[in-house]
Symmetry: C2
Subunit: 314 residues, 2 copies
Amino acid sequence: MIDRLIQQIIAKKNPSVVGLDTMLEYVPGHVVNNYGGQQLDLEGAANAIYEFNKAILDAVYEYIPAVKIQIACYELYGPHGLEAFRKTVQYARSKDLLVIGDIKRNDIGSTAKAYASAYLGQTQLKNGAVRVFDVDFATVNPYLGSDGVMPFIEICKSNGKGIFVLVKTSNPSSGEFQDLDVRTGKLYQKVAAKVNEWGKDLIGSAGYSQVGAVVGATYPRQLEELRSLMPGAFFLIPGYGAQGGSAGDIVGGFNSDGLGAIINSSRSVICAYMRSPWKEEFSPREFADAARAEVLRMRREIDAGLSQKRIRPW
Amino acid sequence: MIDRLIQQIIAKKNPSVVGLDTMLEYVPGHVVNNYGGQQLDLEGAANAIYEFNKAILDAVYEYIPAVKIQIACYELYGPHGLEAFRKTVQYARSKDLLVIGDIKRNDIGSTAKAYASAYLGQTQLKNGAVRVFDVDFATVNPYLGSDGVMPFIEICKSNGKGIFVLVKTSNPSSGEFQDLDVRTGKLYQKVAAKVNEWGKDLIGSAGYSQVGAVVGATYPRQLEELRSLMPGAFFLIPGYGAQGGSAGDIVGGFNSDGLGAIINSSRSVICAYMRSPWKEEFSPREFADAARAEVLRMRREIDAGLSQKRIRPW
């Protein structure tokens, strides 16, 4: 799956992915009106979100390698929301996009296996097995140690899927635990070493593992350091744009082959129509066009950053 | 909510809770046959699981203060599984049980708020707000630091709910990160100090906070140590029974008032009918009676442990 991601990045000339962190408040009124307007219920909200996502995907799929779907935004609308999540995954895959389920799941033993099966594998019924949410990559929280991560890796092995392990997250308080000094460095460095170990049997043809890492754009120094500590791990980099990371900040997340990172942008794309400069140019009915304009702007910005460092792979 | 939990523990003379980690393989054939037998689909599986849960709840609700529902087991069956989760929560609450959603969620900012709203708060629609999964307590993973926990605590404050933060988990590799030496002790001790800080404004009338901690039964020395480090935190203790923790091991998780801990048991209760000694006594059709027998046995065992230490609160 990591090889397919790399192919897509090169074909689309773009390492940036769109985060479909869609909440009802982002959906323009004319879409909401199709599902009950002011009276819409949870099912209506979920359907409105799915319609919004489909239009965004139609507008941007040609320009991006993958989407990241934040499941919290769907759980907010209950089982109907989860159905909208499932359908959004299917729709993105029908457009040949890779799908990263941003689920940050973590547990142990048979419970971790249940999560891994639900998102990356198959659910066993009495008479065969079925795929349920079926994303290509999932994010995983490492706090429980190898017991919490290996069940995901087992399912990755048998299903050709990948994970991104949280190593150094983008938020202000990420250092409270992740930056603690442990005997041999920082906690996040210890987690990074484990990511190498967890991923060593899952290396694809371009030298990258199915076991990647989440590393925030907002800590450029650590991003560069982690790049050298985990040369074979693909990075999923959040925090670009809205959270303050710039194109200069994220270049350190790439290897000299111009690969090794994907940059996520969520609200600045899906809410582009509500924000300057795009809100001056696009009406709410043109929300998908505004999203496309922002995707293309971001691609140019990152391309310029990579070309300055002479590490563009395309 | 923590005060209600304490009332329930004293009224039922039982600090042990039942974990409804129900998977299809645990459901006896005569229940599966009501939903398609060998041909059952995801919806049938979810309905079979809900019927199984209802029967277990009917058999045990008089004897336990709360149930812990492991959401991974429901996500495995997709949106229908999540509907079975939601209905199980409702049914347990209709029996006056408190419900712990074992969801181990973690994220930051608006995403963490979305999780907290979905499970502990309300979802905002256009015309008012609705409760979605509506559990009383949720488990939360602290790896992202305060940014990842405070949104849960804000929702707890406004909705009278509680959380259990993962501090020292019960699994073999929990020490890989949690036991690392940091400058001022171990990582889990640092997390424990934060739990005190996060919970200090949410203390109920018995002196316990709405912000509790998950501490495994399988590390009795750390359990005792954490008891003294977090005197005002209620502990959710997994790993009793199936994972190897004994009644002697968990006594250290209680304060001298006989409170401060709930002990979870999942498979040894819900799968009692499949296991010795109960499988010799009960048929698969009597799975709920077997579950009740195991709940009562466990209550006696813990009661004996507490009475030996002379710290029973009833």
